[in-house]
Chain length 483, copies 4
């Protein structure tokens, strides 16, 4: 079972100590079941329940680190060594970030920056934070898995603690943040609401999530965004890696780990042919599945056709398929009527963004029996004995059952770092009080830092070629709308 504890840590000034305190949450936040789902007999394994200590909130524990500091809050300090090793491993893989760290060691482009943020805690986050000596404060929160999956804003009972901890990061005597690095917009909105005087002084916001971007756009439309913000989420590199490349691998991984299905010869319908749908379809096709695609957007639909997929309506193929995978970002893609038509053994899962794509609530009716089979797998049994396999209870499958590769996290972290540097150092007037895409040139820089992993050798334009193309030799090489 994956252990992502409900720890919340407040870290003014002691980032140095961070590595010694990262705990079992170490591995990529969006789950990784292997580490503690170990087949290793001496793993303590197990649920929270098995460890009485778990029942005590870290906030109620008195803890002290090797340097005598008490200003932190950690669940199980005994896991220090495990955490340290995970960070070392992550460093090995996050060569781009390490290269960036090196590149900025002389110039120190974030000198003077006081950054506050609110994000998931992982070994990878640690790698991105440690180099930033300029981070004065950061809140690490790793919500419990189920909550993470729903991606909801924290509910009340939880909130009382959470907000409290958020607040402890901002409300520090003698220290005022001037940059926000956010993931979901919680920190941004906390400061906006509770510390409006601080908000005005902030030089820039870097936001990496769709939810956060939506919230920023709302602020902006309402004329209340008095700070420039960079939307890291829609950078080409992040989009391609988070969606296309990541899902191409994680769909297989997730299905094996849960439904344990053989892909060869199976009929699958993939709902939605955006980047996620493209990744899932390509992977399953490569494994010998027969894939149907549904789409609402004719351009994506035409691409599906040209890529060799039959474009169908879900209702027209749902009787015959062995798997239904939603990748739309929309709601009620698979509804009860569809599930009533599915054949025995059909697997239903969601690779999209929300937990609304499958109408799971329609399955909570008396005539259907739910049977928990194993982690992330429920059998829903119809009165006639037909069973369908619902994975992750309709939540986003690869977040529950696969891992986000370190490399993909490195892409995001690098983009964040560059966005912070850009906003912090931009001359007056370059950015107004608006939400910007990551400048193409920085997006290209993120990519170039990640090429070395593949021993990839980029070609440089000659002067003559650059002139012929009307380009700078150092980019940007494409118009901003180019994907």
């Amino acid at each position: 079972m994956r252990k992502v504890y409900n720890l919340q840590i407040q870290y003014p000034e002691q980032t140095r100590e961070f590595d010694s305190r990262l705990t079992k949450t170490g591995r990529r936040s969006l789950s990784h079941s292997i580490s503690h789902s170990s087949t290793d007999s001496n793993s303590s394994g197990g649920s929270d329940a098995e460890n009485p200590e778990d029942e005590v909130s870290p906030r109620d524990m008195q803890q002290i680190n090797s340097k005598g500091s008490r200003d932190f809050c950690i669940k199980n300090i005994k896991l220090t060594d495990f955490g340290r090793r995970e960070i070392e491993l992550a460093e090995d893989e996050m060569t781009a970030l390490m290269a960036l760290r090196k590149a900025t060691q002389v110039e120190k482009p974030l000198a003077g920056a006081k950054i506050v943020g609110c994000t998931h805690v992982t070994a990878q986050t640690a790698v991105s934070v440690i180099p930033s000596r300029h981070f004065k404060c950061i809140l690490y929160h790793a919500k419990r898995k189920k909550k993470t999956h729903t991606e909801t804003k924290p509910t009340k009972p939880y909130c009382s603690n959470y907000c409290c901890t958020v607040d402890r990061c901002v409300n520090v005597e003698g220290w005022e943040p001037n940059m926000i690095l956010d993931d979901g917009g919680d920190m941004t909105h906390w400061i906006y609401k509770k510390y409006p005087h601080l908000f005005k002084k902030v030089k820039g916001i870097v936001e990496e999530s769709i939810t956060g971007i939506h919230r920023l756009h709302h602020l902006s439309k309402a004329g209340k965004l008095c700070v420039p913000a960079i939307n890291v989420n829609d950078s080409v590199t992040k989009q391609k890696f988070d969606n296309l490349y990541c899902c191409r691998e994680s769909i297989l991984d997730s299905l094996k780990k849960t439904a344990d299905i053989m892909f060869g010869g199976k009929q699958v319908v993939v709902c939605g042919y955006g980047e996620v749908g493209k990744g899932c379809s390509a992977a399953l096709k490569a494994m010998g599945s027969v894939v149907y695609v549904t789409e609402i957007d004719p351009i994506c639909a035409l691409q599906a056709c040209m890529d060799g997929f039959r474009l169908a309506k879900l209702g027209d193929v749902v009787r015959q398929v062995d798997m239904v995978i939603t990748c739309t970002g929309n709601k009620n893609i698979v509804v009860r009527e569809h599930m009533d038509l599915m054949k025995n053994g059909c697997v239903v899962c969601n690779m999209g963004r929300s937990n609304t794509e499958i109408d799971v609530s329609s399955l909570r009716t008396p005539e259907l029996v739910w049977q928990h089979v194993r982690a992330q797998v429920e059998h829903i049994i119809w009165p006639d004995g037909k069973r369908i396999l619902l994975l992750a209870e309709g939540r986003v499958l690869n977040l529950s059952s696969s891992t986000v590769p370190t490399y993909v996290l490195s892409i995001t972290a690098t983009a964040q770092a560059l966005a912070l540097i850009e906003l912090f150092n931009a001359p007056e007037g370059r950015y107004k009080q608006d939400v910007y895409l990551l400048p193409k040139k920085l997006d290209e820089y993120v990519a170039s830092l990640h090429l070395q992993t593949f021993d990839a050798h980029l070609t440089e334009l000659t002067d003559e070629q650059a002139k012929y193309m009307g380009l700078s030799k150092y980019g940007p090489f494409k118009p901003s709308f180019y994907r």
Copy 2:
């Protein structure tokens, strides 16, 4: 050798007659080389010269059609039946255009439009022209192949005739064009320069080529574009089909027809990983080639890596590869130094846009022997006996040696028609004196009209879903930067 005669036709009012006069040029202008592209070295190559009749300019012939009209100019009127059949076949495949024709039969959105244009003549163009009863005038010109490939503006000696014919389309008594449908910008610039009073009255320009777009942007920057223009070239559908999907097929076709090479096991380097490079690489990989990619843009480079290609510099792999394919749009990608290093039998060709990608002039030196092997294939022989195969003399290969599928031409023609309708009917103020991308919604409409060919069934948003996504049920479904 491909026969595309130097015919130039002026067509005021008689579009009805068009189908009876399309000639041997009938098949897709950008090639179809099979016809006379003999592998026989001493084939005279079907040049105009072989047929004495060819020596008479159509302009000097007295011709008359079945209805007694003489106001046209055609090379070989005997080929009427062949032309008619080719048009019928094209109609069979251009179902999207036919559907559009039908859809507009009642509303007649181009009633009152007087369209003038200048484009290649093919059976497919005919299909797109015939339905437009509103076309008052159009110039059909099919330049000789070699000139077509260089995509240069017409040179002087040629121009004298060409311009003359262009002029005959505009300078018609009692008729003034109010829309321009252009391919390359020749007509636009002719009117801009020679008939400025007409230019001001034009309601809109639709341009489908890169060259034409460049020329429009120049006008616009100089403040001289007093007419709104729609850039059809950069629509998502056109880009994907012209480049990715078209080249995926035509690279194989072209290489077989010329070098007649076996793909399996061969090492290939593809220079450039834009849409054309992606298409070429994917196709060759699928055929069992080992493909290397070169890139200057780190984002495309990273995509090449994630797609399973080794990213290298040309100089580092040029010794070992069996083929070099340029797809950059840039100049001097393959230079003499590279070719000196190539191994015996290496094939060199260009799938990019210009004829400058391979520095062919550097091969015109005394120590190298050129040997014409068959159509589109030259052996360049080094003093030590090494020979490389240069295809199409470095010009764009698939234009010389493959065909553009009717379907792809239908995409463009549909986009043009919709752009014309949009500009002609747009309310005041929607478009200013600028160059616009094809509106996303129209791009989506182009795609949707082309789905039926594949028996593809689009899903419709429910009201609830549309609301949830904040979209209209009828699109546009994506932000304009989405590709």
Copy 3:
């Protein structure tokens, strides 16, 4: 953690009861980590150690089933319900076997057969055993995982119990086996040695493992095989599914579950291009890896080339690759010299048959540090800090870290059943005292029974076509050497 208990059951006459006694070992013997690596908090999870009851040998327990029978030996009878459900699930997927069961219900082709065997216990085995009312006796043994992986013959201390149990299956008063269904040859050799009078009366042997086939050939060469045997292992269907199709999926699954590596852009060398190597290479290529292949057999080597892989010697690429995967069936493919050259982070694993492909013993030297990272993953750390990831300690990776799909097990079980029927019913003289391949027609029958899972519709020859081809309408359709 995967639970495969050390249970040994002897089952004279009570097969009926089998389903109520299958235990936690239920899921596919060759591992399946998910079931009990559950993230489900109420799973009892854990190692044998955690449960005191585990320490008592099942042989020392007094057990009694619901019908009062005591003649069995089971580890944890409380898991009955779990076992029953797993069997039901397996039945759902093993439709071919269920169809065969149905097809033979009238004719009862095994009436009179008294079958003894020795194989792994899984839910799937249960499905294949239950229908066979004619099974009089079977030994279920599921060795502990580690032992299973090494695929060695049982060592002494273990043997004492094991042989004892084997013996209890044969040495039954009033019952004499006349057929052997073996997996590894243990039962065959036990009877051959201990009960030569029984051996002579046996009508046939069906063997499914390479090891067992080798042992049979030894007997045969020595002139001591006085019984016809069918080699199920080399049937086309079993070979393709066990190797090509199974490994195509399990290589990805296994690598994700252990090294948790991103495949895109990675360089991999696959040693060996037999069916296993073909499956691994194809899967990794499809995921965007750059794959090199090594081979000793020029025919397979040429196939690798034509499939688009660079054929190299391991020593020539080992410095640059991110992964080394052995699929040869040979020994010392990866030796210390190779591992000394590998780059930091290189993953080394074995998908072949033996545990000798990687010379793991050469890593057991003082200067190298072994660090256990998680289940199936060791870091071997060089003095300069370089670490390589050794998976499954060099044992067969997918046996440790993936599952064999039920469908694949069904292929084997069906082939076994048909081979039993064939040998038991064959007229005198059809089979001599030799080892035979599964007759082509039966191989085809196995395949045809498995088509319905894919809703696949076979075409039937017309009489005219059968005559033209010189074939029976019902097969066999290919010469026996056809693969």
Copy 4:
């Protein structure tokens, strides 16, 4: 239309001169249609008729070569230079054969062999013949294309000449053949029937065609084969290259050259999933087609499923597909009932072996109109206007419209050469009066000679590994049934 003239050459003793006399037939016999396969409907089609000289039989011409020899018969001696260059080009590509030639220069394993044969004349054949100084006599015949396609035995009127020429090769004073290298069995049967005393003295026969193998098996069954023969046709390398690898490329090539169809998004049914069907299906899938497969053999059917193709009956999908491709080797796969159901524009073609797969005769009915569109393309028009495209009039498509890569011909030629050497040098008793597969070791040698083209590096077994596997270090590496 392809020009393969009806030349028949008899060549005692003058092989030396061969290269100077190869004519327009130079390019690979089994096609290369580009030359005159005009899309032009009124092209006279390059038939012999267009050239008056063609009307004179070469046999009636008095010819003399540069050395004064008159003992040959050639159509157009003026094409000497063209022929010579084609041979040089072929030599460049046939490195395996050149390597073999070199390897045998010292040992001269065919010294004393007097070989007679009957095969197609191409530049590639020349390469294989020239090195063999031991060829005393060979008949080159290149039948007219139409006859070639039907693969029938020569009809009477043709035979009179043909047999005459065959006879001139055998019936040479002072020279008696002792080896036969045959392609189709004509020479074998001529000698068997006409010169039984010679037949008995022959040391061996090497046959490369299915037809020839069938005829040998007939002889053998009748007890009349008094000579050992090697079946080169069924060697693994030849099978894979002639079928799988060759068709993977030529299906695309052929369809482009004839139907000029876009593959992306099209629905295709491939009848038969042997090597040819596998190659066609894989290629079309890679180009974005949706492919259905039909099969009679459940093993191949299951492979199609696992490779991601829907297995269907032709009648169930024929209404919806855009193309039907037969690859069965059987007859009447596509019959009139199917064609009546096809949709407008459906393409029908045959990639199998015979010209019987499509029941073309059923289309020769009064209500259907045949319209010749361009080379190899007929429109068959139904009364309601529906048209289907029949390619190559139902004959084998890639033989008409594509080329066999030189590399593939080199595979066959090398196998033939090795088989000749083997039979000529085999010790008494190794081969009896029977038909043998090419020994595995020689098959492997053919492959190894062809690896260098791909810069492929084979791994050698260590002594220890060879011992462990029970193999010789030099092969054979696999059992003979291994494919």
